[in-house]
Amino acid sequence: MTDLHLTTDRATQVEMAAIDAAIDACGLDAVVVNEGERLVRGGIHRANERRHGLLPALHALHNVSGWISHGGVNYIAERLGVPPAEGFGVASFYEMFRMEDPGHINDVVHVCVDAACQIAGADGVIVNLQAQGSTVHRSPCLGQCERAPATFTQGNQGRPDFVEADAVAVEGRIIPQQGQPQLRLLRRMGETNPESLDDYVAYGGFKALAEAFRLGAEGVLAELETAALKGRGGAAFPTAVKWRGVLGAGGDQKWVVVNADESEPGTFKDRHIMELDPFAIVEAATIAGFVTGARKGFIYIRGEYPLATRRLQNAIDSARAAGFLGERIAGSSLGFELEIRRGAGAYICGEETALFESLEGFRGEPRQKPPFPTTHGLFKQPTVINNPETLINALQILEHGGAAYSQIGTSGSTGTRLFCLSGHVQVPGLYEAPHGVTLGEIIELAGGAVGNLRTVLLGGAAGSFVGVDMLDLPLTFEDSRARGASLGSGVVKLFNDTTNFPAVVARIAEFFRNESCGQCVPCRIGVVRQHELVIKSAGRSMNGEREILHDIDLAMKDASICGLGHTAATAVLSAIDLGLIGA
């Protein structure tokens, strides 16, 4: 690459020190990039092996300066060999990075304005905070819908990020079902100290890893196949097929990626897993590495999860100290390392290929598939990427055997499932139940609806509104598909008949408008037109809008690059069909 051309802005000493520390903390020499592969744009330039330090460096800069200062970008550009125009382009992609000097050094309070918080009075929270002189940022769902209205505070001048609700001492139960004997995935939550490796081991921790060593890679795959585990990240892809694909892929550098970007509005299950059972993720990721032949993994966690980040880091550090990570794990010949990378506010970075781009230091723009991550994932190398809930299911399968696991749930949807209940429900929170439990039953488990239930948003913003006639729906992949719904990420968000539906639906449309990466035309412009049409027709019956919305949906479904565009109109159209708006 030609020499960098930089403007005259220079970083301060404080900025340089913070950036240096962040870059040094990334194992930057770990990466080998195949040159000559030009599958996606940026072939030659991608040979820059330091580039994946970009996002950590931007975080560090923002934390000390409160914005992405020009001098800071120049310094990062120099350190990493990234052209400043690209550094700017990447930084400006993320919601958590301010691109202009705010002129003050306040922390920024992110207040969630998505549905659960919207109906719990987020607007009032914003007014109060502003009256107190706080700097407020309207945020999409913060993954804390069970304690709506939610906030997240982004530190400035080196102060740490925090979630106020995390600091509140929790009396009694941490999750509604805590300690119940039938729990599998949630059994440790609230029962163990999530910062204690000894506790984890005492409650069955690292048994699955020992079993994996005993079975060998093929043996583990056979158990996963018998168990018929399907991914919980939204796409329901068979985990065994994915792991086998990576095992069989050529190349000596492979990766494990834990997709902990959890940003689907209404979802907070992965946050619970990471905050309350973080060692389970370390153990499961290690097993994924053992089976597939990957020797290094990344946990890509959403930037608004400071407690989960701390607890995972503690889990990684203590596991390493105890010989459960690093060289010769638990006395075996296996070597495996894990590193955490923080996202910076972008729903799209939960899409697996956008996540790879982001982690590599590029804009979080999804790639056209094929090729798939099993052969061309992180750094274009074979990669197994899984959701945290999927991973902890793998532990269950190894502990109890695939055959026993497959007896739970239905034949098409084995195992138990985590459901995120929020909105107008008596006891919002995270619940575990076997696949096949009906929608009505899971709501009863949470104490029933508050008020007169009108509709449930099932599966998240990318899912759909369903009516009370669907309370008998067995929550399985196959039943939901057959009845035109989707379990998505396990979101069960209730709305009673006092809800201002035009506002709720308009906010969903706005969410997609804000979160489209902007890469492809159908989605970049389709989500804007959809939002405009929803606002335009608010509070009245639809005329020609309905037809145009269907036209938009069809084009986004057929011609967009990724799942965001494919599902961006689903909730809006279901709201019209149910008569929540436009009736």
Binding site: S92, I525, R529, K536, I548, A559
Partner: protein
């Protein structure tokens, strides 16, 4: 008797385009196969001399067995593929892409798009007069070219030409997100303050006139731009020994812009500042304020 060695089938793939069988070399795209079958496909972000970014989606086709349509420009042809290029679904998506662009972007100078919009029945006006458009002032920062991002369809071509695919200068990149995404220098500094070396390769690839030679812009402003009256003279750049092909576009006996053929083996359509803008010595009288 001589036995002919059968041609290796490994290097060829056979597929059907609208029911017609075609055979192309392995590694060629579905778009290549469509061309081989004599089917015209609209493309916007694709160019022969750039890595496909498959972003505009106007080239989508239906692939039997795929849940969604596929971008023909980047998808490699595979053995046995059954492709439809004129189905209801294909026509609908192409129409919507063109309609969306028309509803948000100034396409007045993207003449090629006009005929496609007609062909597919795109009607941008149905989103009403209040549909949000890209609203950007024209950037006139030097004498060589202007940037008018009102006209930008975000095809990434200029970014590719400035970066990996030709120039390796990386003066411009995509910034922002969603509908707010823009082509930009770092912190939006002016081009003279950026890494730009004025090769003009971005101008050469822009399909909509969003980046434009100042000569062309000035003539258009004066309503004096007459492409139909222009003649094109081929020559070879005399500045160095590389031997780039130049096409001098001449209107009223005046050079109004310089391009290079994208299929030329030396330039692949890309030039440097000397070939692109160094013609003033041929024509020292041109008004260069």
């Amino acid at each position: 008797m001589t036995v002919l060695e059968p041609r290796s089938t490994e290097t060829l793939v056979s597929l059907t385009i609208d029911g017609r069988p075609v055979t192309v070399a392995a590694g060629q795209t579905v778009l290549d196969a469509c061309s081989a079958a004599g089917v015209d496909t609209p493309t916007l972000c694709y160019a022969e001399n750039l890595t496909p970014v498959n972003a505009c989606r106007v080239c989508v086709v239906e692939h039997e067995g795929s849940r969604t349509l596929i971008p023909s420009c980047s998808r490699k042809a595979e053995e046995g593929m059954e492709i439809k290029t004129n189905s209801e679904r294909v026509r609908h998506s192409r129409k919507m892409v063109l309609e969306f662009l028309g509803s948000g972007v100034d396409m007045s100078q993207a003449t090629q798009l006009h005929s496609w919009m007609e062909e597919y029945g795109a009607d941008p006006s149905r989103y009403g007069p209040d549909a949000e458009r890209i609203n950007e002032p024209v950037k006139i920062q030097d004498d060589l070219y202007i940037r008018d991002y009102d006209k930008c369809v975000l095809c990434y071509k200029c970014v590719e030409a400035c970066g990996d695919d030709a120039q390796l200068t990386f003066a411009i990149a995509v910034s922002g997100r969603g509908f707010g995404a823009r082509i930009s220098t770092e912190y939006d500094v002016t081009l003279p303050d950026s890494a730009c070396v004025y090769c003009g390769n971005c101008v050469g690839v822009c399909p909509t006139g969003a980046i434009q030679f100042k000569t062309e812009f000035d003539l258009r402003q004066a309503e004096q731009w007459k492409p139909e009256e222009q003649t094109i003279t081929q020559t070879i750049c005399s500045y160095c020994g590389v031997g780039c092909n130049l096409e001098m576009h001449v209107q009223d006996n005046t050079i109004v812009k310089v391009t290079s053929p994208s299929d030329h083996s030396v330039t692949h359509g890309h030039l440097c500042i000397k070939g692109r803008f160094g013609w003033t010595y041929v024509q020292p009288t041109i008004n260069r304020k």
